[in-house]
């Protein structure tokens, strides 16, 4: 008897359509669809794709929690032994959907899940702790390389075989620490490493301390008088009552709000959702965090052309680097689409 596998793909890979079909509602079909064929071949006799779940990227991204539950319930009916997600390559929303599905399946069904993504896909940072994500090239041209590696990993997991290091198996490091017994005492390993470091020989630390990457600065704004400037904050400023329920810490979402018609933010209309500092001052006058009042003045004076009519907000408090990255990327996409030229980001 072979293992039963369900495959999850987006509307594009299902052949339904591109961006114009991205709001495609979740559905599930018997058997293989699209890249499932190659995957099924790679799985050989040991496992078989019994069904393919399909969902549009925009549909999924609009309400991730709701979409994940819907797709999960469809998958559950097929009683699978494992689920394969994507590969999503460098497609951000697709990757996030695969990640969210993997997380939900691992938690709810407790069965093996494997996905495939390009390391810079935001879905990686967000969900790499929840599942094995095979490293793929950045576009579908890498399908031929991605699928066999994903199939191999999946079979290993299905058979309960011991999985190796990221470099051996080709998955993206999950950031999970696993204990093991080494050949030597920790003291001996430490002195060995010390000797290597003293001699300038290569060594591998057993615990890499967190590191931070850098981005090259962009060119400055040359014509401020004709520029549209947007304001973004991690200080949690939102319309009074926090209509989208942005969490006070470890925020799982960001807010997008219009400031059309506002010359000044006051305690009557705005507040902070942030739980990471004493909110009294920001609640009394939200301009102290998001300077709408002076930005409007300067807009009127013609210092710059336009204050972007929407502001973006989230709570930087205890929010995972992965989430912050995801919010940043999504906000940047929208700002660019709206023709914004420069951004002022305020933090508490």
């Amino acid at each position: 008897m072979s293992y039963r596998v369900v495959h999850y793909i987006n509307q594009f890979f299902a052949g339904i359509g591109g961006e114009e079909k991205a709001d495609h509602k979740p559905e599930i079909r018997e058997g293989v669809v699209g890249p499932g064929m190659a995957l099924n071949n790679a799985l050989g006799d040991e496992a078989e794709i019994v069904a393919t779940a399909i969902c549009g990227d925009t549909y999924f991204a609009t309400d991730i929690e709701k979409a994940a539950v819907e797709v999960l319930e469809m998958i559950r009916k097929y009683n699978p032994d494992a689920v394969v997600l994507g590969p999503a390559f460098n497609a951000g929303r697709y990757g996030s959907a695969c990640g969210a599905m993997g997380d939900a399946i691992a938690t709810e069904l407790g069965i093996p899940v494997v996905s495939g993504m390009y390391p810079e896909n935001p879905g990686v940072e967000m969900y790499r702790k929840s599942m094995y994500i095979i490293e793929t090239p950045d576009s579908a041209r890498g399908m031929g390389k991605a699928v066999p590696a994903m199939a191999k990993m999946l079979l290993k997991l299905l058979k309960g075989e011991k999985t190796g290091l990221p470099s051996e198996e080709g998955y993206i490091e999950r950031g999970i620490r696993i204990n093991k017994f080494y050949e030597k005492l920790a003291a001996e390993r430490c002195v060995d490493m010390f000797v290597s470091k003293l001699k300038g020989e290569p060594f591998v630390t057993e615990y890499p301390m967190p590191v931070f990457d850098r981005v090259e600065p962009n060119l400055p704004v040359t014509d401020m008088k004709n520029a549209t400037v947007a304001i973004v904050t991690s200080g949690g400023i939102c319309p009074k009552g926090n209509p989208d329920h942005i969490e006070a810490s470890s925020a799982s979402k960001y807010g997008e709000y219009s400031i059309e018609g506002y010359d000044d933010l006051t305690s009557a209309d705005h507040c902070t959702a942030h739980g990471g500092y004493d909110a009294t001052y920001a609640d009394d006058d939200p301009d102290r965090v998001l300077p709408v009042d002076v930005m409007r003045e300067m807009e009127k004076e013609g210092v710059f052309k336009k204050l972007h009519n929407k502001f973006y907000t989230t709570v930087g408090n205890g929010t995972a680097v992965a989430s912050a990255k995801k919010f940043g990327a999504a906000i940047a996409d929208k700002l660019k689409a709206d023709g914004v030229d420069a951004v002022i980001l305020t933090s508490t």
Binding site: I176, R177, R189, T205
Partner: protein, 428 residues
């Protein structure tokens, strides 16, 4: 300074009329030992039990483990400032009952003691599952103040360790290990082609009951200072800790510090090991800054090229470890760190409470939050209910059949930051 460790092998324990070692068996005169310990009026009841590797025995709550040693030649006595006078130790001859250990138990600060299983899966993680243990069950008099209780237990353990070795002082050793340290003047010029290195030895000192004693001085109240490795072998450093079991440095592991041993092995080949600097891990931030700066100042005065740093405990001491690391690196010394991790039961959390980019060479003794199931044992020495209270356990850790489900944190020495086990961790 030259110290010979005369090691007498102990592979079994038995009761006997006279405390002595014969053919690898350490016979213990229980009556004599109990009566000696009962002299301490802080203890209402004293009992002694024996536990050997492979037996279906669980010991909890364990406070400290000590190796029996005594001086047979040379200045001073074992555990100076504690059970002997404060004379400087570290030279001459010291008798070691290798393979034997004294284990003290007691409900001092109840959640800060540990577990030893003499067999089963827990034994793989615990260095003291492999030693032949003379277990002291110490009950204090009613309403004994906690510091007095801790001191009474600490003293009972050290006295027993000294007593056992003293009774065997005329034994022929199975092996003699020789350790030599040169005077400062000589060591600075020895091996001119090799890098000069030292060991920065961090001692738990967060507060009363979280203490380490050096020649009887509370490490918390002392500035960092120099110590010879052979002094450590003679018991100059004694644990007074009631902290998490997995990464408190027990007196046993101070005596047998595996970092010191390993550094001796590389001495003269890969580097010139010139000595140890001991420092503390206080709660007060000013103390942290002072101690780290002072330690690195000492290291700079010695003209060191490298410093190996070991930690004791987690959380607060992570700050000391990191300060020591970057201050040393910025003073031009290469560092390597030995720590353990608190990455959560799923291994997904941040392992250390602090970090710095200079800490690029780090060995860990494993994730203390990993959960382990310890099947029931036929015999429990101590108070099994403590499993529900112990750090690393939780209410419900102890099942009705005697099974205990705990984090490694509850097992004595399991993630020892002196590197006494083979455990480590890697990232998937």
């Amino acid at each position: 300074m030259k110290l010979e460790l005369h090691k007498v092998k102990v592979s079994k324990l038995a009761w006997g009329d006279k405390t002595a070692v014969r053919d690898g068996v350490l016979f213990v005169n229980k009556e004599e030992l109990v009566s000696m310990l009962s002299e301490d009026e802080r203890l209402a009841k004293v009992d002694v039990e024996l536990a050997m590797p492979g037996e279906s025995v669980r010991i909890l709550p364990v406070k400290d483990v000590i190796e029996p040693r005594c001086k047979i030649e040379g200045k001073g006595g074992i555990f100076p400032g504690m059970v002997s006078d404060v004379e400087t130790v570290g030279e001459g001859k010291t008798l070691v009952l290798e393979g034997a250990a004294v284990v003290t138990t007691g409900k001092i600060v109840r959640f800060q003691e540990g577990i030893i299983d003499m067999s089963g899966p827990g034994a793989d993680y615990c260095p003291y599952s492999q030693t032949n243990n003379v277990v002291l069950l110490l009950d204090p008099v009613v309403d004994l103040e906690k510091h007095d209780h801790e001191a009474a237990c600490r003293l009972a353990g050290l006295k027993t360790a000294a007593y056992l070795a003293e009774c065997c002082r005329d034994c022929e050793p199975d092996r003699v290990d020789v350790y030599e340290t040169l005077s400062f003047r000589e060591s600075m010029h020895a091996y001119p082609d090799l890098p000069k290195v030292a060991y920065l030895y961090m001692l738990q000192s967060q507060g009363l009951l979280h203490d380490t004693w050096v020649y009887g001085v509370d490490a918390k109240k002392s500035l960092p200072t120099l110590i010879s490795p052979t002094e450590v072998m003679d018991g100059a450093i004694v644990s007074g800790n009631c902290v998490s079991a997995c990464d408190k440095n027990n007196t046993y592991v101070h005596l047998n510090n595996p970092i010191i041993n390993s550094m001796y092995e590389h001495h003269g080949k890969d580097f010139n090991f010139v000595g140890c600097i001991i420092t503390n891990e206080n709660v007060t931030l000013a103390d942290k800054k002072r101690s780290s700066s002072y330690s690195i100042k000492l290291a700079s005065m010695m003209g060191l090229d490298g410093l190996l740093i070991s930690e004791e405990g987690f959380g607060n001491p992570d700050a000391d470890l990191i300060m020591n690391c970057w201050k040393a690196e910025r003073a031009g010394m290469k560092t390597t760190l030995l720590t353990d991790e608190y990455a959560g039961q799923d291994g997904a959390s941040q392992s250390l409470a602090d970090s710095c980019p200079e800490g690029d060479a780090c060995v860990t003794a494993g994730n203390a939050n990993e959960v382990i199931t310890l099947p029931p044992m036929e015999k429990v020495l101590g108070y099994p209910d403590e499993a529900n209270i112990i750090a690393g356990g939780w209410d419900g850790s102890l099942a009705s059949d005697g099974t205990i489900t705990v984090e490694l944190q509850a097992i004595i020495g399991s993630t020892c930051e002196l590197g006494f086990t083979k455990l480590g961790a890697y990232t998937i």
